[in-house]
């Protein structure tokens, strides 16, 4: 699921496609949800699994028929189901879907999208996203042409 999520982020960023972005969010959210053992111990776990499976089958059906407009609301619904479930059992304030939005948008920034472009594509909160990016190690954008001293001259 994590690998699928990462693949989809790249495709979503390349095509600036909201449906692919949402698929990546579903993949990453499910990866996180499945990795939390205490989630599976709750009564509603089986119900969630069935709901997601049913909705996913419908999504696949629509995608195969190239009816993407019909598929997108179902993907939204899957994300909402995961989020609602997570809010009920998680120990964190930030939902697993919100975390996915930040993680995936941060990856999209790494792929060259601006903060706003990435936030908008993945529905991430811009402040959270900038904060998260600040904590990430970043090596490959290279050194900018203009230094702090160069830019300070504009303010003189």
């Amino acid at each position: 699921m994590k690998r699928v999520g990462n693949f989809l982020v790249k495709e979503a960023s390349l095509r600036y496609n909201s449906l692919l972005a949402k698929f990546s969010l579903v993949a990453y959210s499910l990866y996180k949800t499945f990795s939390k053992t205490h989630f599976k111990e709750t009564r509603d776990w089986k119900k969630l699994e069935n709901t997601i499976s049913n909705k996913m089958r419908k999504v696949v059906f629509f995608v195969e028929k190239e009816k993407l407009k019909e598929a997108e609301p179902l993907v939204d619904l899957i994300l909402k189901k995961i989020e609602d479930y997570d809010r009920g059992v998680s120990r964190f304030q930030q939902s697993v879907v919100d975390s996915a939005r930040i993680k995936m948008a941060a990856k999209a920034i790494g792929l060259g999208l601006s903060l706003k472009a990435a936030a908008s594509l993945f529905g991430a909160n811009e402040i959270w996203l900038q904060e998260y990016r600040g904590e990430a190690k970043d090596t490959s954008f290279g050194r900018e042409k203009k230094s702090i001293n160069d830019r300070l001259r504009y303010l003189e």
Binding site: L111, K116, Q130, D138, S147, R151, Y154
Partner: protein, 223 residues
Amino acid sequence: MKKKIIMDTSTLISLTMTCSSNIFSELKNKFSFAIPKTVYTESVLKPKENQKFHLSALRLSKIISETPFEIASPTAQEKQKTELFLSAANSLFSIENKNLNILQRAETEAAVLADSRNALLASDERTLRLLLENPFLLREVLEKRYGEDIEMDRSFLEKISFLKNLRIVRSSELLVSVFLKDKKILTKEEKEFLEASLFALKFAGASLTDEEIISFLNSLNKK
């Protein structure tokens, strides 16, 4: 006459998150500030709807009204320029004929407003800066990240070139200018404070590198 600075959301976020937004009370003696209406909506109105960011939004709202910041709406011509720039910027790079949409309207509008009003742009947004100041480096970065050849259509590079001389500052320079003011030498304590503040901005996502912070601090020692 005061120099004008157009603020982008990214810079306001960096300064508010590091509790550095009080620098505007100093800067307002030398500069006048404006923010595009779209930036105001993103930095103040939207965060007010979220409990986690409500306080930051209120702080910012207070600074905007007290400094004061002009809330700028683009003219018809500026709107047209924004669309032209946005469309060219998002058609400049492509992979297998798929254009890379790298920018959004709000940050583009801030850049266009700064250019047409002869102002500086304050932006911590790295993609926009690289696109304007070093598009070839941006292409290299994109190639590395996608692991594929990136095509660059020079005709679009020409179309965005009207902004290439835009003077861009970041939250870091705004902060440093307040620290330094007319001082020739900083005390050890002041230097330590400045270093901590610059790293705080970096961790708040101001897209600064360790290397450039250290290089700048070393340059202070030589002054």
